[in-house]
């Protein structure tokens, strides 16, 4: 007789923990990508603007000021790489990821746990010297390596039951969110303004954004020699094959939710599936030219609100005590990042 159980249970708290662990680690990778790119492509005279762009991407203006930092390159780097008290920093996100990992330890492979532990220790030892000159780029590479090692080990060792789906959903939703944020801020900073030499400088900046989204070479293969900003926006939002495009992330999230309903009989996924469908249509319905003409920022704000709604719907359906973030009014600044429970245990 077969003794295996096929109806293994997943605690609501653990589903939530997996979802958020993936989000926190995805944020670490995205921060490392953004910092690396900002460093590599800062233009003389505009350093402060470039670095403060990071603060705006994460909607961290208030938080940054409250923690006593002033808007210059050094302070922004420290805020994101050294300040453990800042929950949106690399150490802050990793602390939350590891705390979640502790609660999830019974479900995780030993390899996953070991790697997060070692990575956590590495991040806790970042020094101000690591933020200087060429050391910074090496640090960013190590941070990306750390998260990618995590995702690789997870791919190879995490048991693929319902828990894996919630982990994936967290990662995809965070990635879609991060891509739209980056596009939002950088596009506003790069609005085309006439003169040819400025345009060339802008192209360099667009390349930087593509690199930050790990899409530079694929983009080159997919587009004409002379590309426009419209092409970049199209690529980041709608490319069907780029791992970090908003569309790919949303489509995969939709498919995972569908699997949860179909394979595991979780009918509560219904509302989230509808939201994912809506989001997918929102990403595809209008020509990019029209979006740009009507205002990319306003459009991306709507996309971001719906990404948050999707996360909230998953929370309502499956998690223990989800509290939806207050959606900010459309327009103005970026949506602030929602925080999950670093841990659900008192």
């Amino acid at each position: 007789m077969n003794q295996m159980r096929f109806d293994a249970v997943l605690l609501a708290r653990d589903a939530e923990g997996l979802f958020w662990m993936a989000r926190y680690l995805e944020r670490v990778e995205n921060l490392a990508r953004l910092i690396d790119v900002t460093q590599s492509f800062e233009s003389p005279g505009f350093e402060t603007d470039a670095w403060f762009g990071l603060i705006r991407i994460n909607a961290d203006e208030k938080n940054f000021k409250a923690r006593g930092f002033s808007p210059d390159a050094t302070h922004v780097k420290r805020f994101y790489l050294l300040d453990r008290g800042n929950p949106t920093s690399v150490p802050g996100n990793l602390e939350d990821a590891r705390t979640n990992a502790r609660t999830l330890r019974p479900l995780m492979s030993t390899e996953m746990w070991r790697q997060i532990n070692v990575f956590h220790r590495f991040v806790g030892r970042i020094t101000p010297e690591d933020l200087e000159g060429d050391a910074l780029s090496r640090l960013c590479t190590k941070l990306k390596d750390g998260v990618q090692a995590h995702t690789g080990i997870t791919e190879g060792t995490l048991y693929r039951d319902q828990g894996w789906y919630f982990y994936e959903l967290g990662r995809l939703i965070e990635r879609a969110d991060q891509t739209t944020r980056m596009l939002d801020i950088k596009y506003t900073a790069l609005l085309p303004q006439g003169r040819e030499e400025k345009r060339v400088a802008e192209l360099t900046q667009w390349n930087a954004i593509l690199r930050a989204a790990a899409g530079y070479h694929a983009f080159k293969r997919r587009t004409r020699a002379s590309f426009s900003s419209e092409d970049v926006v199209h690529f980041l939002l709608r490319d069907p094959s780029s791992p970090r495009s908003a569309l790919l992330c949303v489509r995969r999230a939709e498919s995972h939710l569908d699997d949860l309903r179909r394979i595991y009989g979780l009918s509560a996924a219904g509302e989230a599936i509808e939201l994912a469908e809506y989001l997918r249509e929102l990403l595809l319905e209008m020509p990019i030219g029209h979006i740009l003409a009507a205002g990319l920022h306003e459009y991306l704000d709507i996309v971001q609100i719906h990404i948050q709604k999707l996360a909230a719907a998953i929370g309502r359906a499956f998690f223990r005590d989800w509290q939806p973030a207050e959606p900010a009014p459309v327009g103005g600044q970026s949506q602030s990042q929602t925080q999950g429970p670093a841990e659900a245990v008192a």
Binding site: L11, A12, R102, P106, V118, L266, R320, E343
Partner: protein
Amino acid sequence: MNDIFRNTWPDYDPGRYFCELTRKRPGAGPVPDWLIQRLGRIGLDALRARASAAETELIDLGVTFTVYSDATAIDRILPFDCIPRVLTAGEWDLLERACIQRVAALNAFLGDIYGPGHIVRDGVIPAELVYGNSNYRPEMKDFPVPHGTYVHVCGIDIIRDEFGDFRVLEDNARTPSGVSYVIENRHLMLRTFPDLMAGIKLLPVDDYGRRLRAAMTEIAPGGDDDPQVVLLSPGIYNSAYFEHVFLAREMGVPLVVGADLVVENERVYMRTISGLRRVHTIYRRLNDDFLDPAVFRPDSMLGVRGLISAWKAGNVAIANAVGTGVADDKAVYAYMPRIIKYYLGEEALIQNVETHICREAEGLQYTLDNLHKLVTKPVGESGGYGITIGPRASKEELDVARASILADPGNWISQPMIGLSVAPTLAEEGIGPRHLDLRPFIVTGKESWVLPGGLTRVAMKRGSLIVNSSQGGGSKDTWVLADDFGQGDGA
């Protein structure tokens, strides 16, 4: 002492203490020379290098416990000493039988005091010590438990005196911890010292999770042969959280916290992504006080409201049972030899350490008169807190102890200072003798099973007698030789 050892580690001197590795055991076969030879071949520098690699591995794996002092909480590894503690087959035979005997007596005692109370009426133990005990739970009165088992998991602290005789120092019948280290230490040894272990037949330690789950299945209500078992933990801030994770994984059951559980219609459920799911057996690593705010501490955020009513309705099993604390109390401990005799009609296979009960006039007087010679312990504490070691205490410390005892004599016992046995341990000065004890773990559903060996805790500080992890103690892998004479090629 053994010649090979003397040649290998000439500065090693256990003094008047019984050395676990170098002293001959009467009638127990030869001292395991091969271990000393192998250690000698590895050499001190390599031992240190490997020990350091092993500690790094423990840190990487997060095999840690949390030490709380004032406002800080620090994750520490339990210091690991790479020189194993060896028990011969003959020694283990005695230890195993003694542990089973002791658990049988503890369960019989609990069944009696929460039932008819014969032992009190027969005058074997004072009524006040039982019914006036702060760990006696009136809620348990006349509530039958499956198979008469109250103490499903028991850890018995056993020491060895200067003469090599084992003695029970303490029973842990509530939620004893440390078993995860037994198994992790063995895995670590297998990875780090394969050459030390090659060809030696040891009793295995990796069956614990299966045995524990089997016991949890045996006590489930309704005789379900595949009940939903869960491990109830206070959560990630508990100092033993790593062990909770370890046991949940080894058993293959969910680790839950109080907030994951809910009681409806006197049935216990857990909150899953697909709604509420019935729970049949709870292995709880939470003290009685915190289990159910409706019955015990109303401010408990860690427990489950209604749990006790579900239990009393027979809809869920809880291990260990509520109210076992009355049996492992340090004052009740003094009566254990008589308790064993009363229920089992046998002498204790391993004797207690002689104990003076300060709640009794005679014991109090003796304790006060001999404070400088005795170890005094508060009965309600664990983890080595509150202990005063008379022969090593200053006059001021003795005065403090005297005042504490006089203020509340019922809270104190005293024992002669036992020269705990020692074993060679990697230390700053090289290989030095360090004091140790042994905590075997006994799992009981229908019947008792003893995990071969147990946790050997070792005081890492020279001369220290306190082996508790919260006080800087470490641990060793505990080897139980499968048989005393077929112990490898000796090469």
